[in-house]
Structures are given as structure tokens and as C-alpha cells.
Symmetry: C2
Subunit: 351 residues, 2 copies
Amino acid sequence: VTAGEAAPLDPVRWRDGALRLIDQRRLPGELAYLECRTVDAVAEAIRNLAVRGAPAIGVAAAYGVLLGAETAARAGKDPMPAAREAARVLAATRPTAVNLFAGLARMEAALDAGSARGLLDHLRREADRLLEEDLLTGRRIAEHGLGVLPAGEPLRVLTHCNAGGLATGGWGTALAPLYAAHRSGRRLEVFANETRPLWQGARLTAWELSRAGIPVTVLVDGAASLLLARGRVDVVIVGADRVARNGDTANKIGTLGVALAARHAGVPFYVAAPLSTFDPRAPDGASIPIEERAEAEVLGSQAPPGVRAWNPAFDVTPAGLIRGWITEVGVLRPPFPLPGTGTTPAPDPVD
Amino acid sequence: VTAGEAAPLDPVRWRDGALRLIDQRRLPGELAYLECRTVDAVAEAIRNLAVRGAPAIGVAAAYGVLLGAETAARAGKDPMPAAREAARVLAATRPTAVNLFAGLARMEAALDAGSARGLLDHLRREADRLLEEDLLTGRRIAEHGLGVLPAGEPLRVLTHCNAGGLATGGWGTALAPLYAAHRSGRRLEVFANETRPLWQGARLTAWELSRAGIPVTVLVDGAASLLLARGRVDVVIVGADRVARNGDTANKIGTLGVALAARHAGVPFYVAAPLSTFDPRAPDGASIPIEERAEAEVLGSQAPPGVRAWNPAFDVTPAGLIRGWITEVGVLRPPFPLPGTGTTPAPDPVD
């Protein structure tokens, strides 16, 4: 994995004065790009899940602020208040996506530091930097992840949901080490849980891996325990929505069950996530709020009318079930090198 | 639960000279009955899943043999060979359903013992007896199950797939104790895993419980671990497809994950099944074959073309994760009182 190596995917890019997104709603049916030329178009793409995955949303929002400033400048208006208004609009799209606020905070800091003169170039550079940092983080996660993949061919990996290139600037988190291993010529077999209720595994993980030429097999979430118990998995890697200080990890609903089954089968279970996913304010999993989503996502057309559903969007896997956290600074164990935890990130030996 | 008490459902009944089935394919949309007046109609209903659930299939097949004999007699033909031919046709419908063969074996024994004279009455009595035995077994499972339900109201129960009235003559296995508890006035809250890939929980368990007035909440299979970990379940009860001599239990795919999560959460996990589900020839779970079904059931319209799926129909839960086996002769632990295992069923104190 070298610094100049192209990412497997380009879900969020600046092209010809517009933000170009892979429209994830149309996957796996077709690979279609959505061109956003206004703040409202970006906000709508985030809201309607054309772009999803916390890191991808953060980068998209940053370019949205740039679009707000550019639109104002073209109309002969002051780009500074327009950029601030864009940040306000974009912040209201997905209230729980941490990387969204991080991306907007970076752009607002750039606004504070800049002047009207040269503002557009300044904002463009900051948004580009956010994307480049995300791609660098993905490459580093790939590199560190390679170090913990078990020996043997084909390497049989189980994952849950989509923590792939689509969810980020292009490398992904859980899937980044798999792309790197595949490019180095190693034979892989990836098992993707379909990930009810929104099918991110069956739709997105299956699509992006098979597109890269990596063999992928989809299974219902309930079949993961048997797959593990039958000795058909060498390692489990998943992404994360939030990691508490003690290592308890919130991720897509169903992850806890996979971790329990991996422990039962004696298979190592890793979480791959950038340090921005680690929350120094959350001491443990009990302090991570569980978002509950609409019942209709579960009930669909299957259940009889009048029946209720319980639809938590993610669960919390206790730190004790996790072998290691694959980050851009190495494979960590608690205590993590985070601001306010008395430790600082070690210099990164990769790249 | 008294001997004369009506079962919650009537999925398989003999009415006006025909076999009347609840058409489970049309649930939960509507409660429609299918009238089978020929062997071929019964065979087709079993094949196309209009009737499903091993005990229900066994009873349906028995009446199918009766229909074969009656059709021949009405046409002035010998009913004896027609009944034997019916048994042959019905045996080919679902090759792995154990109760199908048990039901047909009972009818063939009745043929062997009978004569052409009075044959139709003889067959009718044997099929009725099979249904009555199934209903009695369900009532006894209900009674024994009541004895192990934890105290407290509402009693919060988690189940997987459909081991309800629909899958049997009318009482069910895992759901039988819940019907009995509800009728005795106890408040219940049942959580039903949706049960991918065929949605038996969301479609059938949700339907039959809500019809009986028992509050039911559907969740994706991947959410069961979180539900248990958050202390929201008092007891787990599931059915079984086959129980080995050491107690290892095959049941619908996803059951193993529920059992592991129940252990993690310290929640008791019970299997409810008639003794006919216990296989004295299977020493342990490793000797139970795992049926793998069509990939299309998993891939549906979600996954991209060319992607493979792994679709095991059931998994095996190790005996060590199971608190007890609720049967018609009591709540058992291995060694079970089975033919060929050196023990015999104890006299039943219930009814």
C-alpha cells in the first residue's frame, strides 16, 4: 500500500466544479454518479442516503460548504456568510453522524482563519485535505490490518454491514486490509452478512468486493454463528460507529452476535476504525446511546398489521470480545492514545 | 390446560370429506383455508409450503393416504393399492421432514393390519388418532412448559422462527406454554425474531400470537443479542427439528446465535419439542446433517448478480447452552427416555 496507490472506489470526489457522489441508493443495480452543484443538492444526498458512511458524509459536507461559497461568489455575493449558512444547513441533515460535524468544524475553522480574498481557494484546499486525510487513514488501516491477518490461503474473512470503500473516501475501514491483501496477490474468501434491516452487506459489501474481483458469499445474519462454529472463518473484521474509552464498541445491529459467535468458535474478532471514531467522552458502552429507527424498516411487507417492531440501529460489543482495534496509528488495545486520556498518538511508522 | 380445551389454531383438519388446511403462504395477509380432496392436492400443498411445520406435515400426509383410498373406492376401485400409492407419492414431497415419514408409517401399518372391508373407517380412525395425539402432545408441552416459566409480569419471552400452532395440529411446541399462560390470565410480551431468509417469525409467529391477543414485537435476527444483553428477556423458548442423544439440538438457522446471546446474558434457554423429534440414532450434533437450500432465498433482489450465497436451513445448538427440553413427558435433560437408549418414557403425570 503506497501513498500514491489509487483507492478501490471514488464515492466522494470534486470534479469539474461539482461534488460527484456514487449514488449508493442505486447499488447494486448500477454504478451511477450524482453531480451536486448546490448546497441543497449535497444536503439532500446526505439525507436520502445517496451518500452514507460516516467518513464519506464528513467529506461530502466539507465540499458542500465550498459549493455554498462558490455559488454566492458567482452571483456577486459575499461568499463568507454563504459558506457559514451552508454549514448550518448541512449540520441538520444527519444529527448523529459524528464525522459530519468534524468535517464542518474543519471548514468553519478555515473560514475563521481566512479572508474574503482567496477564500474559495482556501476552502477548496481544506476540503481536499479532508479527503486526502481520509484516504491516508484508509491506507494506514490497510497496512496495519495486514499485520494481523492470519496465515493460510485462502484467507476466510467474515464481515458485517458495509465498512468498505463506499463508506469512506475510497479505501474503507474493515475492508481496507482485504483490498490490500488482494492486491498483493493473496487469495481471499469474504463472507458478508446481509445485514438486516437495510441490507448493507448484501447490497454494498457484496457489490464493492465482487467489483474488485474478491470472492464474496452472502449469508443471512443468523447463519454467521454456524459458519464460525463450523470452522469456516479465519478472522472477523468489522467497522465501528463509536468506540468508548474502555474499548466497548458500537457498530451496526448484529455485530454483538457475531462477536459472541467468534468467541465461541475461538476466531479472532477485530474492529477497524479511524481514531476519529474513538470517543474520549464515553467511558464505556453503557454511555453510548442506541439509536432506535422506524418500525417500518423491520416490518416491511412481511409482518401482519398492528404488530410492533423494535429497531435499534446498532449494538455494543464489550471490549473483552475484541482482539484489537485496527487504526491509522497501529493495532491498539485500551487505553487508547486519545486527547484527554493521558496518552497521545504514537508517530506512525507506515507510509 | 384441559383435555377438551380447544387448540389456538386448526391448521390441519378433516372436514366434510376433505382435508382442510390453513394456507400458510397467504399469511399474514389473510386467513384462507385450502380444501384438498385428492392425494395430489395434499402433495402439492406440502411441496409448495401451504402447510409447513414437521408435525403439521405428518398429520396432513396421513389424511392424504385416506383421500387416496376414498377416491379409489368412489371410482369402484380397490382402495388398498390406491392408499399405498398415495403414501409413495406423499413420501416424495419433503424428503427431510421426519414427521412426514412417521405419519406415513403409521398409515401403512394400519393398511397392513386392515382388510379391504372397513378399510376406509380404519384409515380415518388412524389419521384422526395422529391428529389427536399431536394435540395432546401440545397440551402436555404447554403444561410442562408452564412449570419452568420464570416469575414476574409481564413475562418477557424471546422466540425464533415459528414453533407455534401453525407448525403442528394446533397448539405448537415453543408457543404452547405461552398460549396456556395467556389463557390463565398471565401478562406476556413476546419478542419474535423475523427469521431470515423465509420470515417465519415476522409472518407466522407474529400473526398467530397477535391473533390470540398476545402482544408481540418483531425484531431483526441480529437484534436478539442486544435485546438479551439489555435485560429485556426473561426466558427464551424455541422449537427443534432434531435433537441428538446428547442434547445437541438442530433448529432453524439463527437459533445458535440466540442461545449464545442468552448464555452471555444469563437468560435461560429452553427447547420445546415432542419426543418424536429426538433421534436415538444421532449421538451428537456432528451427526445431524445440515440441509443447504437455494441461494436465491438469501440473495433475493438485494444482492448484485454473480454473488454467491450460503443458505443453511438450520444450525446446531450445543446441549451445554440449553437449560432443558420441554416435552410431553416432562422437562428433560440428557440422557433422554428414548427407545434404544436404555431408558423408557416415564408415565406422564399431566392430563
